[in-house]
Amino acid sequence: MSIFELKMPKLAESITEGTIVSWSVKVGDTIVEDDILFEVTTAKVNAEVPSPVAGTIQKIFFQEGETVEVGTVVALVDMESGEHTVEAEPAVVAAPEPPKEAAAPALKEEAKWYSPAVLHTAKEAGIPTAELETLPGTGYLGRLSKKDVSNYIDQKKNGGSAPVAVPAKKLLPVHPPLPNFSTSSEGAAGDVIVEMDPVARIIAERMLQSKQTSPHVTTVVEVDVTKLVYWRNRQKNEFLQQEGISLNYLPAIVEATTRALKEFPKVNASVEGTRFILKKQINVGIAVALDDGNLIVPVIQNADKLSISGLAHSIDTLATKARSNKLKLEEIQGGTFTITNFGTFRNLFGTPIINQPEVAILGVGYIEKKPSVIETPEGDVIAIRHKMYISLSYDHRIINGAVGGAFVKRIADYLENWEK
C-alpha cells in the first residue's frame, strides 16, 4: 500500500502559512486527481487546494480553523486503495457466490463524520461513538466540534443529564424574527431555507397588512391603444434625440391616470377610521422590480403637473435610482396612487395588492395585436388593433363598483383617444 503525504502548499511567494477554512473531503472518501480537498486562507489569499493524486483519504491531521505552516503534512492519501477490494476476492472454494452488494458495509457510517480531535477527546472521556451521534453539532455543516464534545463532557461531570440542544447557527442574528410568521418548519431534505432580507420582511409585512386592512375588488378593461402605439412610433426617435431617454408608454398611462384621478377624488384618497381623506396632491408611485428580487415604489410627486417629457424623465430617474439603491426617503413617500406595469413581463392582466394607505392600484398589462371588430358607416370590419388590459384593485370601503369601474373606463377612454 502506497501512502501520499499531502502537504500545505506554498500558495504564492511570501506566504509561509495558511489557515484551513474547510475540508471538502473526509476520511474514507475516494478522490480523483485534481479534486478540491480543502480551502485555505491567509490574510489576503483564499485558495482551494486540489489533490495531486488519486486515492482514498486515510487521515486528516488538522481541523478547520487550524493554522498550518507551508510544507506541513495535513492529510494522508492511500493511493492504492482501489486495489484492496480486488484482494478481497474469495479463494477458490465450492461455496456459493457471495452477493456482490456485501462489499460496501461502510456506506452507512458515512453519514456522521468526526474529526480526529473529536474522536480523541471522546475516547479519553470514554464516550462511545453511538453516544456522539446523539449530540448536536455546531461546527462546519453542523459537524460535532471539539468544543461540543468538551461541553458535553463537562455537563456529564456536573450531573447534567440530556445534552442541551444548541440551535444551529442563525444566518441573520441581527434582526429579530418577524412576528405572525410561523418559523416552525425546518423543511424536508433538499429544501432550501432562505432568511428574508430586511426589505423582503417589510414587503411581506406590508402585503399582509394591506390584504387585512382593505377589502380588495378588481375590475378589468380592455383598451384599444392603437392610437397610442402610433403616437409613440412617431415620437420615439425625436424624443430620444431631444431628451436623451427613450419614450415608452408609461408616461402616457400616468398622464391618463392623473386626469382621471382629478375627476374621481375618492380614488386619490385614504381611509382613516371612519373618515375618508381626499388628497389634494396627486403623487403617483411606480412599482420597480429590483435586481435582488425585491421591489420598491418610488413616487412621482405632483404627477398631474408634469408634461409627458417631464413624466418620462421623472420615471427614468426614479427607476435608475431605485435599481442603484439611491432613492432618497422623500422619493418613496407621499404616494396617493400606485401603478404597476407587469406588461413588461408580457403578462396580460393581474389583481395587484393596494399599496397602503392608498385605496387603489392600477395594473398595466402587455400590449399585443389582436383581430378586432370596428364599426364603420359601411358596416362592421375586422381590423388588426393593439390591445392592452388595465386592471384596478380598489378598497371597497371607499370605492364602490360604479366609481371604480367608471374610473378605469375613464383611463381607458383617454388612452383610446390619445392625441398629442
Binding site: A12, E13, D34, T41, E48, L171, G293
Partner: protein
Amino acid sequence: MICIDNRHTDAYFNLAAEEYLLEHFSSDVFMLWQNDSSVIIGKNQNIQAEVNLDFAREHHIKVARRHTGGGAVYHDAGNLNLTFIETDDRPDFSKYTRSILAMLSAIGIQAEADERNSIYIDGLKISGCAQFIRKNKILFHATLLFSSDLSNLNASLKSLHDVTETKHYVKSVKSSVTNISDHLPEPLQLSDFKKRIVSDFLGNARNRMYTFSREDTLAINKLKKEKYATNNWNYQA
C-alpha cells in the same frame, strides 16, 4: 490577454462575473469595473465585526462577500477596481502591484507599495488587494480610491459590534486613506483615467477588448442569484 471594460455597477453581479471568468475563460483576463456604494468583505470575514450594518442600510450601501481573502473595503462610483485572472502555478502577486504603480505613475502619481501589496501616497492608503487561487488559476484584484466618499467609507467600515467567536476570522487591517484625485498634478476624471488604462493595455498587440455576450450575462446573473446576492453567502457565520 483580454480586457473587459465592465460597465455593470451591481456588486453582486460583478463578484459573480469574477468567479465566472475564473471558471470558464481559458485566456488571461484583465477587467476594469466599478460598484455602486457597497461594502465588500473578504471570504473569511465576520460581517458583523467588519461592517456597520445599520449605517449601510440607512445609506443604501450594499454589503457583499467576495471569494478572495483579505479585509473589508468600501466601493462607490469614485473607486476603480482592477481584476487580473491568469494561469500560474507559482504566482507572484507583486507583479500586478507593479503594473498598477505604473498606471499611477503615468498620470503623475508617485505611490509606493508595502509587503501586503497595498499602495500608499505619502503614507495614506489608496489601494488594497486580495487574491483567490483555484488549482493553478489565480485571481488578483485591487481597489483604487480615486474620488470616493471617504466619510461613507469610514462610517460603513466602523463596526459597533465586538465579535468574540471561537471560529477563525480574518480581521481587517485599518488604514488611513486618501483619494488619488487629491494628489493629481492636473485634474483628471476617473472616466478618463480608465480610458487611459484601456488604451495603454491595447498598446500591446497581443491584447484585445472583450464584452460580455448574452450567454455570459445570463450565466453571471444566475451565479449572482444563486450565490453572491444571497443572505446565505453574504451573512454566513
